[in-house]
Amino acid sequence: MLNRRHLHALAGAYALDALDGAERDRFERHLRRCPACEREVRGFAATAAALAMAAAAEPPPRLRDRVLAATAVTRQSPPDVARRGAARAATRPGVTRSPWVPRVALAVGGAGLAAAAALGVVQVATQHQLDSALARNQEIATVLAAPDARIAAAPTSVGGTTVVVVSRAEQKLVFTSAGLPALPPEKVYELWLLGPGTARPAGLLPPPSGGKTAPVLASGVLADDKVGVTVEPVGGTSSPTTTPIVVMTLPA
């Protein structure tokens, strides 16, 4: 028989996520009517957070790139206005977005001009992003203008065309696409460098704008690499989980 004392005593197990379904639901219902329990759980959650801090470990550096890239294409949830209460909401600063700095122009020349036509616009939100976008565009321009730049295009199995400009000397390539089908919000196109028996993640394609995706720069291109694209969950994965929609052999 579950009585109130039994429920109170579950505060610790609840804070450690050690309750299973039905019991957790029951405790959560109780929590809403028991301010003392709520306070206790909050203290236990802070204590558990200290246990987590003590377990800190260095994540692989690629996780940072991937997560930060995903924020660019992930819409944020609106605040839960009802829960916060009207008075509270009124004192909070409104949800504002940094103004988008539109259309960073990109001037390119040399062998990559054909691909430049396929380049989309780059949208950025802050000065910092503007700087890094410009730096990236600079890098992209370097590839497109490289004396040994070669271009290749291929259709994909789902429609649309992918375009690659590769510079063997720079060991870099620039990838763009046109006419790829739009994906549901929880999916993303991921680019891969495919070596013999290996697949290295090479970036996520930004969502198409006007049917085209903005250029993605990939570094560390090896002699016998091919380039492929798969559909993956938002944020990308460390190895492909679906069949590539295109695999391109890079021009020599």
Partner: protein, 193 residues
Amino acid sequence: MGPFRSASDPAERSDSELDKLLMLVARGDREAFEGVYDRLAGPVYGLIRKVLRDPAQSEEVAQEVLLEVWRTASRFDPGRGSAAAWTLTIAHRRAIDRVRSETAAAERELRSASAQVAIDEVAESVEASLEAERVRRCLEGLTELQRESITLAYYGGYSYPQVAALLDTALGTIKTRIRDGLTRLRDCLGVSW
């Protein structure tokens, strides 16, 4: 840096800095999110790996969690706890969801050998950080049953009935040991909330 908020603690400052960063994230500030990432990705990843063990799976879940922090930052309410506690609660829940949804979970429960590892690891895993040292010291101040119950539940990802089975102890006893142990741990760490 940490989830602590006792008045004299220098952690308090960086803690409230982190709170402010997370509130900026709620407004779409990606630079603020980088700050949150750099402070919390280590604890998030470390905690998840502690529960799941498998590095590839841990990386995947950590990615989900960190993106969830970006996505749902507007739900963070500093009146109800620190940004660190909020984030690490999400991280732990996601790790537990993964553990409990796995078909291998049943098999895993039986491997009490690995449970033993979970207990030992707490003492070992501790890096040189001051906070980790403090946590280790406070864990040592618990009774053996309190410590084992808490570490099996939190780091091991076991439900409290599973903990009771692993430790061959009555359900009600485990329940109260977890609560008493957390109370003692909270007071030892000087966590305010």
